[in-house]
Symmetry: C2
Subunit: 156 residues, 2 copies
DNA sequence: ATAAATGCAAAGGGTTTGCAAAGGC
DNA sequence: GCCTTTGCAAACCCTTTGCATTTAT
């Protein structure tokens, strides 16, 4: 997993901004920036508690704020009643497929969509800022078996 | 405003299900089903308090649940940290433009989008249920003047 | 008269904040 | 040593729930 470099980038960001590089911040960055999944703040705290360090939720939220400000993490709200976070990779923009059974998130790209949203915004007199497209459905795994519910929907 | 008929439909729904037709329920239905805007539960309570009846938020939420169950109201979550509700008109499906300054919501239709989401879901092994597309931007009014913030974003 | 709805206040989940104790610099 | 972070608990926002009172039927 080549995310240790990204964690180091975060450490550099902290130093450049005169902010202490703490073990907690690095641990949280490690989990968030190294995950393939779209984690919630609670997911991060659980992961850390399960593995080694027991870090307070408040610290997780505060570090997430730093990671988002640094540009290394992206916030997502899929209308589930809580937020998820994903590492900001080089991919410029992508859409999301969300499994309503197990909470797994898949990503896909569509170049036409961005153009379409700009045109629609223009046609309605809006200055477009960004867009959100989520396709809700049941993933392949959950279609064939009883799934492991990872980040369940609070509002199904 | 031809929504009195819809309120009557709700009254009929209540009677058919043996549920009391109360003044509060009718007042809440009147506000929600008659609004051009995408209201939050709090918007409804404020509107009612401003106009005439002071109805508890709990009652608003409970009536909203009934309205959604009856099929006359649709729930939306645009990732603002609260939910909005719109009357279920005859329009089968549409997307939303959300002004991040004043919270106004515009609607638009795109026939290609639904097909596209089905194809994407298939390609990823998902059984598609529904989708959500929100374009965030600044509406025409807010681009030229200091706006009246109606349903402000809690997470800008 | 019966059964359900209302209103209020308390509880609930996700998130933020205040403050004493701990830890980077 | 100074200043920030941490952790915990309390506060906060939106939403739901429990319970005594009111109301529709």
């Amino acid at each position: 997993m080549g995310h240790d470099g990204v964690v180091e980038t975060f450490a550099t960001y902290l130093r450049e901004h005169g902010l202490p590089v703490t073990a907690q911040r690095l641990a949280i960055a490690h989990v968030l920036l190294g995950s393939e999944r779209h984690l919630s703040a609670d997911d991060v705290a659980s992961e850390l508690a399960r593995a080694h360090s027991r870090i307070g939720l408040a610290t997780v939220y505060r570090t997430i704020e730093l990671l988002v400000k640094s540009g290394l993490l992206v916030e997502r709200d899929f209308g589930e009643g809580f937020r998820r976070f994903e590492p900001a990779r080089d991919i410029p923009h992508h859409e999301h497929l969300l499994c309503t059974v197990c909470g797994t998130v898949h990503e896909f790209r569509d170049e036409r969509l961005e153009r379409m949203t700009t045109l629609v915004a223009e046609a309605n007199g809006f200055a477009r800022q960004r867009h959100l497209l989520v396709i809700y459905g049941v993933c392949a795994d959950c279609q064939r078996a009883a799934p492991i519910r990872r980040s369940p929907l609070t509002r199904p």
